[in-house]
């Protein structure tokens, strides 16, 4: 059994309610920091823990907090990014739904660390019922003195507000999120200035993911050094992985970042193997934005090392042969799945979610979707594959925000690793409509013994 730090208590009946949460040791980290620690102490513990942002980019959280500008007389804000809209990613929702007080507790501690007296949870609009859960948790926390003025007599004031978005994926990008929170159109900003200097309402702001902020609770409770003993290398601690696709046990798993990808897929504690006895074809290990990997490169790196569920290992080999841990949206494809179709599906998503601000992304995603639709429907030509490659190449690295990259990478990886499948769609237009390319002609072996 892997060790758990976030979801260890989700099995407890009634943990969603304040009383049960509190009985099980909840809010002790708030007591600890408000009574015994300075804000800088808290930041230091987080630095020591090696915690990396769980929103996708994996930026060290302690360092981010350390960058926060602290001009006199200017408020600072902490904003929790609960916009989780990346296809394949549903871990934050799970956490907020099952153990909302963990997030609230983490928010109070983190607000104290960064000096935010007004903290916002920017939540995806479709999560209507979770808004209610959070509002209730906040009310309970407030009634019990964990929020409001002068919390625990420490002199620290904090309020938490839940702000639902309107369902735009781009509003998960931190600067678009801030625009949206300010009541404007959710267009990403160009940096600099960074939010740490000029963020919400022109004030220094920290934006962190739900899981990141919740993880602050065990870090404070156990100490940063202790937390850093979990996991491996620069991937300390545990990570929530939302697993889906053709596996036996889709769901959210908390893993310690020291297991292999193979173990995660085939161990019954996690995904429990490929569904219906099929073979593993490919996987998108970190949410729809990261490159898809064929089974052989998924389980072993190009160097032949075992691929681990860590930031470093999943990105080993760069984009040529590796991928990213990203936000932990783990999408598994079995032998029957069509890469062209899936790539089309992702492209459609990115086309729809582009904010429309910069040309390569706005126009490129639109075009890619169309080309992929043609290919998928047997209407493509060979030169479309090159065209697709060229269009994605014009997007990548040339846009204002990373959504452009996120739209380009899956397409690039799909062509890079599965070009034969695209070509087959062109050469077999009718068949392409009837059946999927599957594993035909595709490199062995997929998984020893399966």
């Amino acid at each position: 059994m892997g060790r758990k730090l976030l979801l260890d208590k989700v099995g407890i009946v009634g943990i969603r309610s304040y009383d049960v949460y509190r009985e099980n040791g909840g809010y002790s980290s708030v007591e600890k920091v408000l009574k015994t620690m300075s804000p800088d102490d808290v930041t230091n513990e987080v630095k020591k823990s090696g915690l990396r942002g769980r929103g996708g980019a994996g930026f060290p959280t302690g360092m981010k907090w350390g960058f926060l500008a602290k001009p006199e007389g200017v408020p600072r804000y902490l904003v929790c990014n609960a916009d989780e809209s990346e296809p394949g990613t549903f871990k934050d929702r799970y956490l907020m739904e099952h153990i909302p007080h963990l997030l609230i507790e983490g928010l109070i501690v983190s607000s104290y660390a960064v000096g935010s007296n007004r903290t916002y949870i920017y939540i995806r609009g479709e999560f209507g019922w979770i808004v209610d859960i959070l509002e209730q948790a906040i009310a309970e926390a407030k009634n019990n003195g964990w929020l409001g003025k002068n919390i625990l007599g420490s002199g620290f004031d904090c309020e938490i507000y839940v702000h639902p978005g309107a369902g735009a994926y781009i509003c998960g990008e931190e600067t678009a999120l801030l625009e949206s929170l300010e009541g404007k159109r959710g267009n990403p900003r160009i940096k600099p200035p960074f939010p740490a200097v000029k963020g919400l309402y022109g004030c220094p702001t920290v934006v962190n993911n739900v899981e990141t902020l919740s993880t602050v609770v065990p870090i404070i409770n156990m100490g940063g050094d202790e937390y850093a003993k979990y996991g491996t290398g620069k991937s300390t601690g545990t990570k929530l992985i939302s697993a889906c696709g053709n596996i036996n046990k889709p769901g959210v798993y908390e893993i310690e970042m020291n297991i292999s990808v193979e173990e995660f897929i085939y161990n019954d504690e996690y995904c429990g193997g490929i569904a219906n006895g099929k073979r593993l074809k490919a996987c998108v290990p970190g949410g729809s934005s990261v490159p898809v990997l064929p089974a052989n490169l998924l389980l072993k790196t190009a160097k032949g090392e075992t691929r681990m569920m860590t930031y470093e290992s999943l990105s080993d080999g760069g984009f040529l042969t590796g991928s990213m841990l990203g936000s932990g949206g783990f999408i598994v494809y079995d032998e029957d799945q069509c890469i062209v179709r899936n790539t089309y599906s992702f492209s459609r998503f990115y086309r729809h979610e582009s904010c429309g601000q910069c040309s390569p992304c706005r126009e490129g995603t639109f075009w890619m979707e169309k080309i992929l639709w043609n290919l998928e429907h047997g209407k493509g030509k060979m030169k479309d594959i090159d065209l697709l490659w060229s269009v994605q190449g014009n997007i990548e690295g040339n846009t204002i925000c990373p959504l452009g990259d996120a739209a380009a990478w899956p397409v690039a990886a799909a062509i890079r690793h599965f070009r034969d499948e695209f070509e087959w769609h062109v050469t077999h237009p009718e068949e392409a409509q009837r059946r999927n390319y599957g594993l035909a002609g595709y490199a062995e072996p997929l998984k020893a013994g399966v």
């Binding site: 900003r189 040309s359 706005r362 060229s390």
Partner: protein, 898 residues
């Protein structure tokens, strides 16, 4: 200075620029869309991609947007690298995916930045083979067409409209490839500067609807550099014609005046020049109706009327050129010449001129006004009386908050970052007016009161800046505290700006504004003082006038005149009905030089067809004392000509009369008025040549020349010659960069759109290559002793039975000529009389829209009631200059009934 490397060549460039500006200023053809020299960078369109290298060893570099890349020491880029080329071509390719490719039917075609950039990028092969996304277009009012399918989503429109001009009803909607720039629903675009979208939009989304009524391609237009006659600011315009009718107005860039922009009155108010009511031949009234008369006969007859011993007087015009006013004065004699405005107005303008000439405070230009960091408006509704000044002041309001961005080393050009930091904040901005004005939305404190109370507030501010000034007696607590905050804010500013004007007909207001400025100057502040005056050449005409119309009335009342010569002046608009009738009745013969039929021309005996700005050449002097030359666009095929030409012939011996050219008139003018010496320097003389070449009014691609009148005569007529300027009326002449005052259109190889202006500037967004045109006639002298004005008026007390009626101004309607243009006409408000609720109730009126009767000059007037609660008690407001209110002179007192 910074050293940068562009394709391995080193350049010294000014500090604080971005690489796109630098490249364009150095003359490179680098493609761009979202960047605009006045709106700066947002890095959205991605069209200006270049390769940026870390240092000389970096051989790969990465694609970076030049407009977002600071041109700091050591910056290294390549425009020419293949990867950069491919990226820019690819970007255009993507922008063109959904573009309708409808250039042949697009009004922008031939002057389209998108066309230019597409060609420049090298993209020429289309790989997209799907259906295009389409949008529905909107009705946006009489000024603009909307064709959203041509949009390339550069965001310039909303950035200009909202961020720059303060508009509220244009925005970007939807997302991804569906984004839409327009209104939330069909309707008139409200903002006074909406017309700039025509030039700001790099494609054919927003185009000029008035041009569409008589469409002509840019290359087929014959244009002249001109000056807007819509208000006193003197914005520079390019006026264009074909087949003898004016087709459109574009901005003529003048870095000292209007820069890249115009207001909608100026842009769309030209259509009166094509009106059916134009007087196009000499007319004589014969038993009640006008009959055409041979020019020669008209001259003979009028001359005979003016013969020996006849009492002849002349009334000049604030909308006619210096030259025309001057010649009228010459013709009738100094003592018989009257400036064509009321004595009240004339004296106010004289006072303004006096302050400009003898004061010690600088009067900044429109462009300089943008650089001040605190504003105090004393009694002027600038949005409606001098619209472009309001646009400048809106920019000034950003300076103080921008400092916060500069403090963290965000340069001004980084507009995205500035917007984030500044948000909606504006700097110190105070307004004292009679009623709520549009700029109140950015003001830090507004005061509404009678002009005397506005003046009192001004005096109180001045006194708080300089304690030696007399304090304002009986000041109420509220205005005392407001005056303190205003004084404090002005003193805290680096560059405070005081704005006032003559629109309230109040000497007290003008004096109070001067006092504030003087007091600030004495505190060592770099203060500016701007006065606006009523009309395009109010200052110029007044410089030539000793007396005004009331003096003329007094004179003819004493002794009838034989002949009255009226120069381009509808007296009813300027001095009211009663006075107009008084003077017209006491002159035996009335001769008018006029553009269009109006109330005054109804009672004349002879009419001479006078040119508007479109058919005249001349000089006018704007509110800051800047003399500027405007040129006739064409020689009309009727008898219309510059008034000074008629006047010049009239004063000569008709037998030997010989038309004098413009330069000769100017020489004569400055010889008699040495203080106007500089008007000669406002433009080259007619004998100026580049090599042996004249300067063309038409582009080299002008078409149809040989066939234009083939239906009348198959042989091509000899082109008309312009003796008054170094310009030809055709495409013949020098097609390089011409002298700024004589540039009739902007064009440079590969640059067909208005953005060709880049090639005419020393650096993009900066002064024109040979300096900005126009000459200021007066400059302040810092060392002069400021003479404070010490008459502090007492507070206004509303009377129980009488109301004081003041003029309220409307950008569309309050100016006589532009109001006759079709598009502008659609925007003129319903006439009304405005009162606050209290006043209305006291007079027994309640419902807005109800009929209100009042008396003006013994005549009963009836208008509908408009409630305006910002109006002070005891004051009513009437919209100035509308049809229903024409013939009213302000201010006046009246009783009203429901």
């Amino acid at each position: 200075m910074a050293k940068v490397f562009i394709d391995d060549i080193e350049y010294e460039v000014p500090d604080g620029k971005n690489m796109l500006e630098v490249c364009l200023s150095l003359g490179f053809d680098l493609t761009y869309f979202c960047w605009h020299p006045a709106l700066h960078s947002i890095g959205a369109c991605r069209q200006c991609g270049v390769i940026n290298y870390k240092d000389e060893n970096d051989k790969r570099g990465r694609i970076t947007m030049a407009c977002m890349l600071p041109a700091s020491n050591g910056t290294r880029i390549s425009i020419e690298a293949k990867a950069a080329h491919d990226f820019r071509a690819g970007n255009i390719e993507s922008l063109m995916l959904n573009h309708p490719h409808d250039c042949p039917v697009c009004d922008e075609g031939g002057e389209c930045h998108l066309q230019d950039m597409t060609l420049m990028s090298g993209h020429n092969y289309r790989r997209y083979r799907f259906k295009k996304r389409t949008h529905t277009n909107q009705y946006l009012g009489p000024f603009l067409n909307h064709e959203m399918n041509r949009c390339i989503q550069c965001y310039r429109c909303v950035r200009f409209y909202k961020d720059y001009a303060g508009g509220k009803d244009l925005d970007v909607f939807a997302a991804h490839d569906d984004i839409y720039f327009g209104r939330s629903e069909d309707g008139v675009l409200e903002n006074e500067f909406s017309g700039n979208l025509v030039e700001v939009c790099p494609t054919g989304v927003f185009t000029d609807k008035t041009l569409k009524q008589h469409y002509t391609r840019k290359w087929d237009l014959t244009s002249a550099p001109s000056v807007c006659h819509g208000c006193s600011l003197g914005c520079n315009i390019l006026a264009s014609q074909r087949y003898g009718t004016i087709r459109r107005i574009l901005t003529r860039y003048n870095g000292d005046v209007n820069g890249y922009f115009l207001c909608d009155r100026g842009r769309f108010g030209y259509e009166y020049t094509n009106s059916k009511k134009r007087i196009i031949k000499a007319l004589k009234r014969v038993s009640g109706t006008y009959q055409p008369i041979e020019n020669g006969n008209a001259f003979e007859e009028v001359k005979a009327l003016m013969g020996e011993g006849k009492k002849v007087i002349g009334i000049g015009s604030p909308r006619a050129s210096l030259e025309s006013n001057f010649l009228l004065k010459e013709l009738v004699g100094e003592n018989n010449f009257y400036g064509g405005i009321s004595n009240t107005e004339g004296n106010l303008i004289k006072q303004v001129i006096d302050i400009l000439k003898k004061g010690k405070v600088k009067t900044p230009s429109l462009a300089e006004a943008k650089g001040y960091d605190a504003v105090f408006i004393v009694g002027e509704d600038v949005t409606n009386t001098a619209p472009m000044l309001a646009l400048s002041l809106r920019q000034a309001a950003k300076n103080k908050p921008n400092e916060e961005a500069f403090a963290i080393r965000i340069p001004l050009w980084n507009d995205v970052a500035i917007r984030e930091i500044v948000q909606e904040r504006t700097g110190p901005f105070f307004i004292a007016t009679v009623h709520h004005t549009k700029l109140d939305e950015i003001s830090s404190g507004s005061f509404y009161g009678h002009p005397d109370n506005i003046a009192r507030l001004g005096h109180a501010v001045a006194q708080k800046i300089n304690n030696n000034l007399p304090s304002v007696p009986d000041a109420d607590r509220e205005s005392a505290s407001l005056s303190s905050s205003i004084a404090e804010a002005l003193l805290a500013a680096k560059k405070p700006l005081i704005v006032s004007g003559t629109s309230l007909f109040s000497k007290n207001v003008i004096e109070a504004a001067a006092n504030v400025a003087y007091a600030l100057k004495e505190q060592g502040k770099d203060v500016g003082l701007i006065y606006t005056v009523p009309e395009a050449n109010s200052v110029g005409m007044t410089l030539l006038s000793e007396n005004f119309v009331d003096d003329a009335i007094a004179r003819v009342e004493k002794e009838r005149a034989d002949v009255l010569l009226i120069l381009e002046n509808d007296l009813y608009q300027r001095i009211g009905k009663k006075d107009s009738e008084a003077i017209l009745k006491r002159c035996n013969q009335v001769v008018a030089f006029e553009n269009l039929e109006n109330e005054t021309t109804n009672s004349c005996d002879y009419l001479f067809p006078a040119g508007t700005f479109a058919e005249s050449t001349g000089t006018i002097v704007n509110n800051e004392g800047r003399a500027q030359r405007f040129y006739q666009v064409h020689i009309p095929r009727n008898e219309v000509r510059s008034s000074w030409k008629w006047l010049d012939i009239l004063r000569q011996d008709l037998q030997t009369a010989e038309a004098k050219d413009f330069d000769a008139i100017v020489d004569e003018l400055i010889q008699k008025n040495p203080e106007l010496q500089k008007i000669k320097e406002t433009a080259p003389t007619a004998d100026f040549r580049i090599g042996t070449q004249k300067i063309p009014r038409s582009p080299h691609r002008f078409s149809g020349r040989t066939s234009m009148i083939a239906n009348i005569n198959v042989s091509e007529p000899k082109p008309p010659v312009d003796n008054d300027s170094p310009m030809s009326f055709t495409m013949e002449g020098y097609h390089g960069i011409q002298p700024s005052p004589d540039t009739a259109f902007y064009w440079s190889p590969a640059w067909n759109s208005v953005q060709a202006i880049n090639k005419y500037q020393i650096e993009v967004g900066g002064p024109l290559h040979d300096g900005n045109p126009g000459k200021r006639l007066f400059e302040p002298d810092e060392n002069r002793q400021a003479k404070y004005f010490n008459d502090i008026p007492s507070s206004f007390h509303p009377s129980n039975d009488e109301l004081l009626v003041l003029p309220l101004y409307h950008i569309y309607g309050s100016e006589e000529l532009t109001a006759l243009s079709h598009a502008v006409k659609e925007r003129i408000p319903q006439a009304y009389i405005a009162l606050n609720e209290n006043e209305a109730r006291r007079k027994g009126l309640n419902a807005e829209g109800g009929k209100v009767e009042f008396y003006y000059q013994d005549k009963k007037w009836e208008l509908s009631l408009k409630i305006d609660n910002s109006l002070p008690d005891g004051i009513a407001g009437l919209p100035k200059g509308l049809n229903e209110t024409s013939g009213i002179g302000y201010p006046f007192r009246t009783k009203i009934n429901s």
